[in-house]
């Protein structure tokens, strides 16, 4: 995952393949037994997981309370629609702002921590937000959450589009996802991106090199909270409701699982693969058995035991093996997958 030095293109070949698949999805989805709604869900969770991987995969900070920021984004969007009826853009902006503010606040308490203390503190903060969301009936609607958050028209300057149909909504979410992918790629190949990877490799050494580690950790936590907030706003837009379930310890754990099953530690695209695996597993296993989580949990345990670098790690190894057979192949292994 170490990023190469020198000039990095704004849009890579892998990105183009991804965008092609992303935007053509509604055309072939039904042919393979999928539908638009799951596409919307996957797009939203990819935004969430990619933003999360900034923290987990690139900075090496395991947060187990990230659901809080998704939830805060969802509530902020929902409240803006119910109380202000400000339209999609304002709602999403508020969602991002609210989640960023919350993440920034939490990060103040977390940024000087490492390892297990960091993980435990994120659990504590995640639980605080979850608990408040359940108990603060007046604002959050308690366990039921905010209901009937209708999808408004999406204003695009000259025209406005109805988001009532899942297909339109999918294109909207996919467009946002595409922008996010480019932004994240840019961030990761900036000096800031190099600094966070230095912190993952060796925090003490990064500090000795003169990086302001506290500030960098604070920024990356807050930034990843902002992405979670955007995902949360979209989540509320899609579900037409916001509820505390997404903030629970389990839901926060799911994003960690998705990021790792795909191989977030070794590849930029790891979280994308992980999210797709999760939702396909939910639909496929869920159609066979009620207890799909049991099987998914077992699958996850097996991945952690036998292939802890996830799908991307396995792919990297296979690619490396193929590459060593064909001497001509230039980039192989981990470099190829970033």
């Amino acid at each position: 995952m170490l990023t190469a030095r020198g000039k990095v293109p704004l849009v890579t070949r892998q990105m183009l393949v991804f965008f092609a698949l992303l935007f053509s999805y509604p055309l072939w989805a039904s042919a393979v037994g999928l539908y638009d709604y799951i596409g919307v869900e996957i797009a939203i969770w990819i935004i969430y997981a990619l933003g999360y991987n900034l923290l987990l995969g690139y900075t090496g900070l395991p947060s187990f309370g990230h659901g809080a920021f998704l939830g805060i984004g969802a509530y902020a969007y929902g409240l803006s629609q119910l109380d202000l009826s400000g339209g999609v853009w304002i709602g999403l902006l508020l969602a991002v702002c609210a989640a960023t503010a919350a993440a920034g606040l939490v990060a103040c308490f977390l940024s000087h921590r490492r390892g297990i203390y960091f993980a435990l503190m994120t659990i504590a903060f995640g639980q605080i937000f979850w608990f408040v969301a359940i108990k603060w009936h007046g604002v959050t609607g308690g366990e039921d959450g905010l209901l009937n958050v209708l999808r408004p028209e999406l204003g695009l300057g000259v025209a406005s589009i109805s988001l009532k149909s899942n297909t339109t909504l999918y294109y909207f979410a996919a467009a946002l996802l595409a922008v996010i992918v480019v932004i994240l790629w840019r961030v990761l190949h900036s000096p800031f991106g190099a600094a966070i990877q230095a912190i993952r490799m060796n925090e003490t050494r990064a500090r000795f090199l003169g990086y302001r580690v506290w500030l960098i950790k604070w920024s990356v936590f807050t930034l990843s909270g902002a992405f979670a907030g955007l995902a949360g706003g979209l989540f509320c837009l899609t579900q037409e409701s916001a509820y505390p379930d997404v903030m629970s310890l389990h839901a926060s754990g799911f994003v960690v699982m998705m990021t790792l099953i795909g191989g977030g530690f070794v590849s930029f695209w790891g979280p994308v693969v992980g999210v797709i695996v999760f939702f396909l597993a939910r639909d496929l296993l869920g159609s066979v058995t009620e207890a799909w989580l049991l099987w998914y949990g077992l699958l996850f345990m097996a991945v952690m035991l036998f292939e802890p670098e996830g799908v991307a790690g396995a792919w990297g190894r296979i690619a490396a093996r193929l590459g060593s057979q064909k001497v001509a192949a230039p980039a192989a292994g981990k470099e190829a997958s970033t």
């Binding site: 308490f109 605080i128 989580l293 952690m304």
Partner: protein, 309 residues
């Protein structure tokens, strides 16, 4: 005086809860200090203990014929006592299994072990839901500790006193075990420097296996005792594992007295705030944690450990 007597039951409730929290946290901290793994499945093991106890106390043994009838005819107290032995053992066996899996992650990224236990937590919880159903169940308690008694002009639940005394005894036994026996000395040495322990010719793998099983069994016992107070749901484990995290961080990772003091503090905080704002009482433990950590970064009794790298 009214103020004191009004608050006293809440303080006692808090202490009882705190002692059991401390018991959960002790198992947790043992596992963290010897294996350097946060056991996210600890709460599920807690729930599993309670469910196995339920199975032992009121089993469906009609298939066994007269033997089953004889067992069912045993007084509830006897079956409860049997459950108190069998259920933690069963949980310890599950703990053994989990440790054997965990072994593959030692020496790799810390997150892998952590996440493996998260997966295990999901699996155990779903398995409980499959086996016993999602509905809330009641764990029967023996006659002797059911009901209430009068102390002065105060009505107090017998079961909570039993729970407090049981928690106290269990913590005392764990302390005796760790502090006064050679096995305890090995465990503490293993927590301090596992390489050295191996160099001294002690079977480290077996030590880790047993410590994990022991920690799991402590969670199972706490589950049995807390089940009648909290009720029995498949996801009850989360209610146990979260306080355990907080207590460990509050008291300092790897510290015995830190876990006990943290447990009592959290129990008291929850108990006393319960007197004023029942709905919000759980929040008090998070606030307590943030308060303590703002003053002492490694908790009350914590030292700098390998876990921070």
């Amino acid at each position: 005086m009214d103020f004191i007597s009004g608050l006293l039951p809440h303080i006692l409730n808090g202490l009882a809860l705190g002692l059991l929290f401390a018991l959960i946290a002790l198992g947790f901290t043992l596992i963290v200090s010897v294996m350097e793994v946060i056991n996210l499945a600890h709460g599920s093991l807690f729930a599993l203990g309670a469910y196995v106890a339920l199975l032992v106390i009121s089993p469906d043994l009609s298939a066994l014929g007269p033997l089953g009838e004889a067992y069912a005819a045993l007084p509830l107290g006897a079956r409860y006592a049997i459950a108190l032995v069998i259920a933690p053992l069963a949980v310890a066996v599950v703990g053994f299994g989990l440790e054997v899996c965990l072994r593959r992650t030692y020496g790799k990224k810390k997150e892998y072990g952590l996440l493996l236990t998260f997966g295990a937590a999901l699996v155990i919880e779903e398995a409980i839901r499959l086996t016993w159903g999602p509905a809330e169940q009641v764990l029967p308690t023996p006659e002797a500790v059911t009901g209430a008694f009068l102390a002065g002009d105060m009505i107090y639940s017998k079961y909570r006193v039993f729970a407090a005394v049981f928690g106290l005894c269990a913590i005392g036994l764990v302390w005796l075990f760790l502090d006064k026996t050679p096995y305890g000395a090995i465990i503490k040495a293993g927590a301090h420097d596992s390489e050295m322990v191996r160099a001294l010719g002690i079977n480290l793998s077996r030590l880790q296996l047993l410590v994990f099983g022991f920690g799991a069994a402590l969670a199972g016992i706490a589950g049995i005792i807390l089940a009648p107070i909290w009720g029995l749901r498949p996801h009850v484990g989360v209610d146990a594992v979260i306080p355990a995290f907080l207590i460990i961080v509050l008291g300092g990772i790897g510290s015995f007295w830190g876990a006990v003091a943290g447990g009592l503090l959290v129990g008291l905080a929850v108990g006393i705030t319960g007197a004023y704002a029942t709905d919000w009482s759980i929040l008090s433990m998070y606030l307590l944690l943030i308060l303590v950590l703002s003053v002492r970064a490694r908790g009350l009794f914590g030292k700098k450990t390998v876990l921070e790298t």
